[in-house]
Subunit: 343 residues, 2 copies
C-alpha cells in the first residue's frame, strides 16, 4: 500500500519537473483510511514545499480535525531546518499528522535522516525509503548538485543510423521528424540550462527556446550557454541567442572546461543541464566523465560525412560508457534511446 | 478472403526462407469451400515447386475428385515453362483446379502474366496481385537477381550508440548481447553468401557459420566471401574460414569491386547476400548504391574510437540513404532496426 500512495506522490512531483530549481520538485499526498485528503507539489523556489502544499490542499476540503491521525507520503525526507520557508517537519507536527512515509533520504549528509528523530520524538511514525530509487531519480538533478556541486547533465543528440549529425549538402538541416523534435522540447522543459557550442551557433543559429503545447506554466527560459574556444567576439552578433526576447538568458563561456562551466551553473541554481551541441563538445563532456544521462535520437537514414554525434571521429575512451536500463521508444519514424550512463 | 488465404501461403513460403536459391521460396495453399485441402512450399532447387507440393499434400488426405473446382493461392505467378521440373500451370490444369490466385507477377518480363493466358484459355479463373507487395518482398532476393543480375544485399552491423564498432582496449570484442547475436544467426540462415573483409578476417577471425537452434533442416552453409585489397596471400592461413569443415565454402576475391563480386555471386545462384564486415567495406557498398536492406544493432554504450560502423569516418554521399518503414525492436538491452533502403 505504501508504494501505491508513494506513486501518487511521484505523480505530483512530475507536475513540477524543471520548475523548482534549486529546490527539488517534491510531491506529497495526505491519506487517511484509504482516502486522499490532499495532494500537492512544490511549485517554485520561494513558494511552499510539497508537504505544505498538500496540507493546504487538504484544508480546502477538510477540517484540521480530520487531518489529525493522517499519513503523509512525501517523495523526499521532509526538511527539518528553516529555509526560505518554515521547516516542513514543524508543519507536519502542527497538523497532528501521525505517520510520515518518505522516499529518498535528504542528500545533505548533515541532514540525512534528521527528520526521523524530530518526528519520532513527537510520537510520529516514520517510514523511510519507500520507492527510494524512483524518488531519488525524480530528484536526480537536486541530488547531483547537492552531492557533487555540479548539475545533472543530459546529453541530447540526433544522429543518422551511422552516427552522424549532418546530412549531405543540399538536403537540409533536420534528421529527425516532428515527434522527435517535440520530445526535445520536453527535455528542455526539464532543464535549467542548455549548453551549446560556438560552432553550433555559427552553423545552425539555434534559438534553444521553449516551444509547443507542453511548456508548463511558470517554466522560465533555461539559460542558453555558449561554450567557445575562439574569442567570444567571433560569435555572430546577429545570432538569435543574442537578439531575441530572451537575450538576457544567454551566457558565453570562453575557453573554460566543461567541469568549470558546470560548477558555475550549479552555483547559479541549475539542477539539470542539457547539452545540445555538436559531437566535439559533447565528446569533451563524455571524456571528462560529466554526462549523467543520454537522450539519443536516430533517424532512419545513412548520411555519411565526418561529423560524429559523439566525439571528434577518434575519441579515445579508457572505458566505454554504459547506459543503465536503456529505454527505447519509437517516435514517428525515428528512434529514441534514453537512459542514465555510468560516469 | 483472398488476403487471408494468401497470408497462409506466405506463411508456407517463410518455412523455406534461405533454402531454395536460385529459386524463390514459393508457398501455396489449396482451398475449397472455406477449407484448406493442402499446403506446401518449394523446399529446394530441383524439388517440386510450391504448387506441386500443395497438390501432393492435398492428395495425401483428399481424392483427386475433391481437388476439382478448388482454388490455389500462390505467392508468385505459377511457372509456365518447363524448368528442372514440369511447368506448374500444367499441374494446376491437370488437377482441375478452377481458380488461381497469385501474389507477385513473374519478374521475368518475357514471362510476366503469361500464366494468366494459359490458365484462362482452359477456363481457369485468375486473380493476380493479391498481397503483391508482401509476396514480392518475401521473394525479394529472387526478384533482385532476376531484374538486376545482382543478389539482394543485406548489410548487417552492430554498433555502439555513437556508431562505432570497436570497444576500448581490453574490453573484449562484443558490443551486443546474446539475443542480438541470435538474430544475426537468423539473417545468416536467410542468406546464400556472407561477405566479409580481409581486415575483419585478420582482426576477428570470424567463422561465419550457422549456429544455434533456429537453423532450418536442409540449410547449407552460405558461401563465406572474403574481399581483400591486399594480396590474398596476406590473409592468415590459420583463419577459421580456411580450416574448418566448411573451408570449401570460402571464396576470396582480391581487388574486385563490390559490383563485380555481387555479379559473380548471382551467377553462382545467390539470391540473398549478407554483409558482415567493417565500416570501410560496408561503406564501399553503400557508396556504390548496392545495399538493399540494413539490419543494424545498437548496444547501449558509448565506445569512441575511430572505427565507424558505416564508412571510413568521412564517407561522402551525394544523397543520404533512407530506410523505408524502419522496424525497430528491442533485443535484450540492444536495439535492432531493420528495413529496406533506397538505392
Amino acid at each position: 500500500m505504501h508504494e501505491k500512495w508513494m506513486r501518487m506522490a511521484l505523480n505530483e512531483a512530475q507536475k513540477s519537473r524543471g520548475l523548482t530549481s534549486p529546490n527539488p520538485n517534491v510531491g506529497a499526498v495526505i491519506v487517511k483510511q484509504g482516502e486522499i485528503l490532499g495532494r500537492g507539489v512544490h511549485r517554485k523556489a520561494g513558494l511552499p514545499h510539497g508537504e505544505r502544499e498538500a496540507i493546504a490542499d487538504a484544508l480546502t476540503r477538510h477540517s484540521a480535525d480530520e487531518l489529525r491521525g493522517s499519513t503523509i507520503y512525501v517523495t523526499l525526507e521532509p526538511c527539518s531546518t528553516q529555509g526560505r520557508t518554515p521547516a516542513c517537519v514543524q508543519g507536519i507536527l502542527e497538523m497532528g499528522i501521525s505517520s510520515v512515509v518518505y522516499g529518498a533520504v535528504d542528500p545533505n549528509p548533515e541532514h540525512a535522516g534528521r527528520a526521523d528523530g524530530i518526528l519520532q520524538a513527537q510520537g510520529v511514525e516514520v517510514t523511510a525509503g519507500v520507492l527510494a530509487e524512483q524518488c531519488e531519480y525524480e530528484h536526480r538533478g537536486f541530488f547531483k548538485r547537492m552531492r557533487s556541486g555540479r548539475p545533472w547533465v543530459i546529453a541530447k543528440s540526433a544522429m543518422s543510423l551511422d552516427g552522424k549529425i549532418t546530412r549531405p549538402a543540399g538536403e537540409g538541416q533536420w534528421l529527425t521528424g516532428a515527434e522527435a523534435r517535440a520530445e526535445v522540447q520536453n527535455i528542455r522543459c526539464e532543464s535549467d540550462a542548455i549548453i551549446t557550442g560556438g560552432n553550433t551557433v555559427r552553423a545552425d543559429d539555434p534559438a534553444l527556446t521553449l516551444r509547443g503545447e507542453n511548456v508548463p506554466a511558470g517554466k522560465i527560459q533555461p539559460w542558453r550557454v555558449v561554450m567557445t574556444r575562439s574569442d567570444a567576439r567571433f560569435l555572430p552578433n546577429s545570432a538569435k541567442l543574442f537578439n531575441d526576447e530572451f537575450s538576457d538568458r544567454t551566457l558565453v563561456y570562453q575557453n573554460e572546461s566543461p567541469a568549470s562551466v558546470l560548477k558555475q551553473l550549479a552555483e547559479m541554481d541549475c539542477n539539470v543541464v542539457m547539452l545540445e551541441c555538436g559531437g566535439v563538445l559533447l565528446g569533451e563532456f563524455v571524456k571528462a566523465g560529466l554526462v549523467d544521462e543520454c537522450v539519443f535520437f536516430y533517424a532512419p537514414m545513412i548520411c555519411g560525412g565526418s561529423k560524429d554525434g559523439v566525439g571528434d571521429g577518434d575519441m579515445q575512451l579508457a572505458n566505454s560508457l554504459h547506459m543503465k536500463n536503456p529505454q527505447w521508444s519509437q517516435l514517428g519514424n525515428d528512434l529514441m534511446v534514453r537512459g542514465e550512463v555510468n560516469c
